[in-house]
Symmetry: C2
Subunit: 238 residues, 2 copies
């Protein structure tokens, strides 16, 4: 197969094979989409901002013992990652009620969730990524019980690490979405950790620094994304 | 308040106060609805068939140690029940994949689910009864962990009893929906157990004996409901 043929093309990333069968090349594109692809735009720098964030957070997690697919970032918007057998779940961790939780259930936006809430969606665009529970994940053979336990434990560990990190920078980690994959019997964090996949609020002003700026036309989304990177990465953009 | 003013009017049942503050009177109406009320018809005998089934199954469960709200059935379509503080959850137990599970996830109708699957919907017509998971049930203070564990345990116990019962009568208990309430710190089975709330298939022919006959215009729904009662209750209809 032509090595330039994408292995997989998502809404904001394109994945290619590499010469090493255990590694993949991920291009973070400038596409921004929301509402399951109904809203779609292109923003300069978006790909490299999210790749930068993903590298940063995956390195942070690795230091704390969380296995991720990150290997290297040879170009600003390109990441080399470990090839995983992806699990078709979006694992959502929530520290504060917002987004779909507030739309679906009678709970005020901003309500603190302690302990944090873990929820899972079955990743399937055509079905609209329906919510799924533990019993169904097991019944549909998506994961066995030990794997599901491991996924949830890792998701909560990622939450502890990221929440404590953002706390120091005056940002509330409201919620975020993770995707995991398997490799040799191990559950490993894949996909990305970026301003696309997290909901981040300024602790003082409540201002959004994430995709909600785009979703709800709250201002200039790339300014918001850049602000996160400038706050957390010394000398970013200098 | 006028004792004739309903305390609560659902899609197929109306609930009234009684002279005893600990008891309620439930009238099983002849209304049949489907697809969250979009389809609606009246069928003679429907109320008394479902009240008959509910009494029958609740007595069966009580014999096996499951606490239910059933007290008496003074008229064919009227039930006196213990007043409960209802929990706004629909607890669904599935032994075979069918219905919304097949629509939402990639699983073939008829797939055996072993162990059975328990799922919960948040009971709220205006929100379309969205699916809810354990973490959210706790976070929204719908139940505490001990109560949730009790609800699930009781739902699975009900499943064991009903499934074994139907098995003897050549019927597969595909899935069913339960609602629970609280009374003095106890979790008690409320609502109804009827052909409206269960999915029942003839083991030989695969024929439906439940609300699917109405939902999908598979034949005469009251003939189907009557067949269940004739099969399981000696001398029913004589």
């Amino acid at each position: 197969m032509n090595p330039d043929t994408p292995l997989y093309e998502g809404k904001a990333k394109t994945v290619f094979r590499t010469e090493n069968p255990d590694e993949l090349k991920v291009i973070f594109r400038n596409d921004m989409t929301a509402f399951n692809g109904v809203k779609h735009d292109l923003f300069e720098n978006k790909g490299r901002f999210n790749a930068t964030a993903s590298e940063f957070f995956m390195r942070l997690l690795e230091k704390d013992g969380v296995a991720t697919h990150f290997i290297s970032r040879p170009e600003p918007d390109v990441m080399i990652v470990r090839r995983l057998d992806m699990i078709p779940l979006e694992v959502i961790v929530r520290n504060v009620a917002a987004g779909s939780m507030v739309k679906k259930y009678p709970v005020q936006e901003g309500t603190i969730l302690n302990p944090p809430v873990v929820a899972t969606d079955y990743k399937d665009d055509e079905r609209g990524d329906p919510m799924i529970n533990d019993d169904l994940i097991i019944a549909l053979n998506i994961l066995n019980m030990a794997e599901l336990t491991s996924v949830k434990k890792q998701a909560l560990r990622v939450n502890e690490i990221l929440r404590a990190f953002f706390d120091e920078y005056g940002i509330t980690l409201v919620d975020f979405k993770l995707e995991f994959g398997k490799s040799g019997g191990e559950i490993i964090l894949g996909d990305e950790i970026s301003m696309d996949s997290m909901r981040l609020w300024d602790k003082k002003t409540g201002e959004s620094f994430d995709k909600d700026v785009y979703r709800f036309d709250k201002g200039d989304v790339m300014t918001a994304y850049r602000q996160v990177l400038e706050r957390i990465i010394p000398k970013f953009g200098e």
